[in-house]
Amino acid sequence: MKILVPLKRVADPDNANKIKIAPDGAKIDTTGLEWKPNPFDEYAVEAALRLTENGATPKVRGGEVVVVTFGPKEADTTLRQMLATGADRAVRVDTTDDALDGSLVARALKALVEREKPDLVLMGKQAVDGDSNQVGQILAELLGWPMATFAATLQEEAGALLVGREVDGGVITLRVKLPAVVTVDLRIVAPTSVYSLATARTHKYADGVRFSALPAIMAAKKKPLIEVPLAELSPDTSLRIAYSKFEPPPVRKAGVKVPDVAVLVDKLVNEAKVL
């Protein structure tokens, strides 16, 4: 199986306090931010690797995983990281971070899918920065492919995937014919979430995204990484979403200590007016 995994780099959520907004409020100032792959996209890479191996001998590849991201040269670091995790090839669509929206990314991905001809596009359900949750759905629509979102489990069948989606009160299982677009949720990296045709059903993975050891980190430098200009994939680079203004959340005011319950109730009734 050939799988294309689009991924996005996001500002490290552990450094959220460093996020600054440009004085005119026009955009987020990204200088000094540390980047990391969007966690849901990392989960998609892990799931893609599991679908292209037999579980027991991870070095034997039973397919190909191609990772793609959109961004400037520095975004190569994100791709190299995923190559170290185990992806086979990488594509960077050259552009700047703030000249993108979900629609443009999906339009460009459509052109890339037509070039690469993967059996599956597997991606995170959303990025943890904008939380838009759009690209997978728009891409499936543009391609006219079947789609399953928020996958918690994946099981390969001949020419299809069984996708388990966690919903309120249970699990919906869909059989999706390939090629398809599937977006993944966090439990996709649990030990028994993903099985390729070659993986024994008794196999249990270590929880989470696999670690990349030093040899894999070294080898990642030699794996193919190509650059494609955005306009080559989507001559129309116009955006459908315009950001009007960014502003930080209001600073939280200091709390007050109340001497007893009576005062607390009084404040809840008369000041906060929540009772």
Binding site: T77, Q81, G208, M218, K221
Partner: protein, 381 residues
């Protein structure tokens, strides 16, 4: 601050080590320190994450790379895991395996090294004896050749990972007095006559077990002798530069962690109506701490580059780096406790633990005084 000799690979490795330590060590750090032991399975988990074999040849199951990669990973394990004892316990093979790799036969390397790097077996190095520490050439544990075996009698002490070790690289006396009569031999767990006399209680490094070992008419196959008979002293010496770099790097990580803890405490803790970071006395303390760490780091980085480049001054500079880093660590951890006040004196506070851990470094891996002897000798006075 990223050391200047590190590149993107080191950064990636640091990130992986951080992720491992955050999920596998940090949540259990307090418990393992109090238990004076971490679970044996952690070796296999760390090996699976690629963190045990860094700096060892891939031909023996290692991860490749060199000492710069090994120290980068171990620093992150300490910074993120916060249990120094756990990290040094996981790393005890770092001193036990190099003599085997450097002086052992192909058969010995294939037999002893891969199981350790897979995290299946624990390796320890045993040199120090109750009556011989810094004076390595004075060890008394004797090994007498008897046919295809050596018969070992004597004892070893302060052996990191010694209570659980499956193989111990032991310094023994096979010849006459002095350094020319010492050999290295691997003693495997279960060999009759080899026993753990007791588990030692220490000031710091609680999560790492430390043992006293006894050898009583212990018959070890002569095939376990590492290198030539009576040439063991050189195997011990050859180990020392990297060991000192590891220890200096430990000190940098410990002091960095103590500093970070102190900065966040100083911002949170209020006295006389404002956070204590608002007082010049605290800010200057922190500034001195940061400066000491920066100086130790800069020297360490310098020595790592020189050592990897084959610079002849590396042994001397490694001794200097160990002392400078040790001093920084002792100073920083002491100040960290001071900034934390009463809380810093309480069990369960990270800096209290680091303060105790820090006390090992001017003693272990060659005392501060021995380092100075080496420096003086190499300086030629």
């Amino acid at each position: 601050m990223t050391p200047l000799h590190e590149n993107e690979e080191h950064a990636r490795l640091r990130a992986e080590a951080r992720r491992f330590a955050r999920t596998e060590i940090r949540p259990h750090a307090d418990a393992w320190e109090e238990d004076e032991e971490f679970p044996r399975e952690l070796y296999a988990r760390a090996a699976a994450a690629g963190l045990i074999g860094i700096g060892y040849p891939e031909a023996y199951g290692g991860g490749g790379g060199d000492v710069s990669h090994a120290i980068a990973a171990s620093e992150e394990m300490i910074l993120e895991g916060t249990s120094v004892g756990t990290c040094v316990g996981l790393g005890s093979h770092g001193i036990a395996l190099p003599p085997i790799l450097k002086f052992g036969t192909e058969e010995q390397k294939q037999r002893f090294v891969p199981p350790v790097l897979r995290g299946e077996k624990i390796a320890a190095l045993a040199i120090t004896e109750p009556a011989a520490g810094s004076d390595v050439a004075g060890i008394a544990t004797r090994a007498v050749r008897d046919g295809d075996h050596y018969v070992i009698d004597g004892s070893k002490t302060f052996i990191t990972s010694g209570t659980r070790a499956d193989l111990v690289t032991v310094a023994v006396r096979t010849g006459g007095a002095g350094h020319a009569g010492i050999s290295m031999i691997v003693v495997e767990r279960g060999t009759p006559g080899f026993s753990v006399t007791r588990k030692l209680a220490k000031t710091g490094w609680w999560a790492s077990d430390t043992a006293e070992l006894a050898f009583e008419s212990c018959r070890v196959p002569a095939a376990n002798l590492i290198g030539e008979e009576n040439a063991g002293f050189y195997a011990i010496m050859a180990n020392f530069v990297t060991e000192r770099l590891y220890l200096a790097s430990n000190c940098c990580a410990i002091s960095e962690l103590a500093y970070r803890e102190s900065v966040s405490w100083a911002r949170e803790r209020r006295a006389f109506g404002k956070p204590i970071a608002g007082f010049q006395v605290t800010r200057h303390k922190l500034a001195d701490m940061a400066s000491s760490i920066a100086a130790a780091r800069a020297l360490l980085s310098d020595v790592v580059v020189r050592f990897l480049g084959g610079d002849a001054s590396a042994p001397k500079l490694a001794a200097m780096a160990k002392n400078v880093a040790t001093d920084a660590c002792s100073f920083v951890c002491d100040q960290a406790v001071q900034i934390h006040g009463g809380t810093g004196y309480m069990r369960g506070t990270v800096v209290e633990r680091l303060f105790r851990d820090a006390r090992l470094y001017p003693i272990g891996g060659g005392t501060r005084e021995i380092m100075n002897e080496i420096i003086a000798k190499l300086e030629g006075y």
